[in-house]
């Protein structure tokens, strides 16, 4: 079964700082990769996803993530955060051919104005 690791559960940043959240997974086969976000008081929603092709994926609100197969990683980045990026961010992995998503523990990100 696949597992997903996210480190630095709590991240506090000032506005305009750069953000990088790490995501590593343990599965040797083909994977589909996701980042979901939960803004305060809102539903979990998709931020971006990778299935194949260009390993650099762009999502909503200026976020991007890079799939590095050799490192089993799918790190999320944003060059300059805003107060509205305060949220919890979850990395999720689907092993190809499997109906399930495995989620990481999440990163609670707080952006200080």
């Amino acid at each position: 079964a696949q597992s997903v690791s996210q480190h630095n559960h709590h991240v506090i940043l000032s506005e305009a700082a750069s953000l990088e959240l790490g995501c590593n997974y343990s599965y040797g086969g083909t994977v589909n990769l996701f980042w979901y976000v939960q803004y305060p008081g809102q539903h979990l929603q998709l931020l971006l996803k990778y299935f194949s092709g260009d390993p650099l994926v762009k999502g909503i609100k200026g976020f991007e993530a890079e799939f590095i197969k050799s490192k089993f990683s799918f790190n999320l980045r944003k060059p300059s955060v805003q107060w509205s990026d305060t949220a919890e961010y979850f990395c999720a992995v689907n092993a190809a051919g499997n109906n399930r998503l495995a989620f990481g523990k999440g990163n609670q990100v707080v952006v200080i104005p």
């Binding site: 979901y36 399930r100 998503l101």
Partner: protein, 113 residues
């Protein structure tokens, strides 16, 4: 479209009581999922369904039951509630399998005392 709806939003149960968490989606999605989210632990899959009449266990199914008599509804039943079932429960749906974007409901916060 209302998307994925869940009721109730909050509930307090006594040990040994039973209840059903309701989930409905109006997007004609075949796949539906139940997750629980414990603080700092990410989302764990309880049960999922690939269509009406078909359900399967996820990672943490013990103490729960599900049914899927229609495409729209996917209720989660807790029998003999225990304090370990205190959690936030999320229902989600997707058109296809684990490769597809999942759409989440607002969650039900359950406390068992």
């Amino acid at each position: 479209n209302a998307g994925v709806t869940q009721t109730p939003k909050f509930r307090i149960l006594k040990i040994g009581q039973s209840m059903t968490l309701q989930c409905a989606q109006d997007m004609n999605h075949n796949y539906m999922y139940w997750y629980r989210q414990d603080p700092g632990m990410g989302l764990k899959l309880i049960y999922y369904s690939v269509g009406a009449g078909i359900t399967d266990k996820g990672e943490v199914p013990n103490g729960y039951n599900v049914s899927r008599s229609t495409t729209e509804d996917f209720p989660l039943r807790l029998e003999l509630a225990a304090p370990s079932q205190t959690s936030v429960y999320f229902c989600a749906s997707s058109i296809r399998d684990g490769t597809d974007t999942q759409y989440f409901g607002p969650g039900t916060r359950l406390t068992v005392l």
